[in-house]
Amino acid sequence: MRYSAFRLFAEALRGHRGWRPAWRDPEPQAEYDTLIIGGGGHGLATAHYLASRYGARSVAVLEKGWIGGGNVGRNTTIVRSNYLLDGNEPFYEHSLKLWEGLEQDLNYNAMFSQRGIINLYHSDAQRDAYIRRGNAMRLHGADAELLDAAGVRALYPWLNFDNARFPIQGGLLQRRAGTARHDAVAWGYARAADRRGVDILQNCEVTGLRIDGGRITGVDTTRGPIRARKVGVAVAGNSSRVMEMAGLRLPIESHVLQAFVTEGLKPLIDGVVTFGAGHFYISQSDKGGLVFGGDLDGYNSYAQRGNLPVPEDVIESGMAIMPAIGRARLLRMWGGVMDMSMDGSPIIDRTPIEGLYFNGGWCYGGFKATPASGLTFAHLLATDEPHPTATAFRLDRFRRGYPIDERGAGAQPNLH
């Protein structure tokens, strides 16, 4: 069933009795050509592009819980392409361009809204760093504008410009950046993939990888064994646990990241704002809640919940640039398990096991990457060649001495 304004109108006239489930709930088959482990944004996007762009006919996505229950349904939905380094920026700009056509491609309203992101700067040195970043972005075809304090004031007059320690001097603005509805991204990809015959198997946890003579032959799941020629792993925070089934150790640690939302308020912030002197970022959801977050808790965790020192730190930072936030009441806070890599950049690559492919290390920035991650992973699975925009994301780059370290923090995952 195609969604359209006409369809909505027609359904309204007959009491909305004609809507059908957006995807099937099939029984697992004994064998598929390609299995994708993980029904998050990346796994579902991979399946969609495999079926729609690479003509794959026999694909299943295996999800241990329900699709969208992982980080794709827990993030703060910021989509941007304001990276500095060569290995990253073309990939994220590719992703942003895919976002711009995503809803037409999927025939699904993901509420992608290009409301702009502004990264505030508070010192001369930081301004210089942002000029450099903005130039790097523009060299790769992305948009970037440097604003002075008056320029920022015109957008957000209520920011605390005269903070004694961190006065706001200006900001780097990317107008094409924005936010999307996270659940709708998972659902839209799931529906589009399902319509092309991809089986989405929920409550189907992979418990073992079947490897014979260095080749993948299938997987064991809680819904029985499934044979396959190729297996792609896209399980975000659980990357180390799944790859351990193939005897591989990864350059990844799992850490918890928290996020927060206030009660619904009248429209206040129409874009995304980030604080440059601490770690705090904020936007407003279409329901009116202020959605914000900051740093990792900083220690290995699979708990999907964090501790209180981080909320204190995040809210202190928020108060520093936006004192008005002190009047809002917090509605909810939650955590997700991040696959923090050793350089803060992702991995999309083959593995030493033939037919086994890995996609992970997304840290806290994988939502924006969803379309390009899916497309480039599908490209790798279908052709055995890396996609031109994802050639740097190799598994062996650490051993070879080619990390992609935006933060410059070294092999210390909790600092990226």
């Binding site: 659980n238 180390s240 646990r241 351990e244 150790r249 990864l250 350059p251 990844i252 640690e253 799992s254 900083g298 220690y299 290995n300 965790s301 699979y302 708990a303 501790n307 020192p309 050793m342 650490f398 051993r399 092999a411 210390q412 995952p413 909790n414």
Partner: protein, 95 residues
């Protein structure tokens, strides 16, 4: 989280900074055969278990000792805290 420091008693985890897996104590021998592979694994590869994890915490705003904390990464429950010095010495490492 409260970390029960072996010398100072219960301390708030905020007084500490976190380094990572306690296997970082086992620094490879740079002169040994296969040192390149050993250092790659030491620097970059982690077990990253969901469950019991032995890890290094530094008492930065306290007595500046390094601790080995045994903690469950699924629940954050801490079951053992040792001085990293004692752990290193018991493995036969000097300074």
């Amino acid at each position: 989280m409260i970390i029960h420091h072996p010398l100072l008693g219960p301390r708030d985890a905020q007084e500490f900074t976190y380094l990572g897996d306690a296997t970082l104590i086992d620094r490879p021998d740079a002169m040994a055969e296969g040192a390149l592979e050993a250092f790659d694994a030491y620097l970059h590869l982690r077990d990253n278990p969901a469950g019991t994890h032995r890890e290094l915490w530094y008492h930065e705003v306290g007595d500046r000792s390094w601790l080995v904390v045994t903690r469950d990464t699924r629940t954050h429950e801490i079951t053992q805290v040792e001085l990293a010095r004692d752990v290193a010495l018991s493995k036969g490492r000097g300074r």
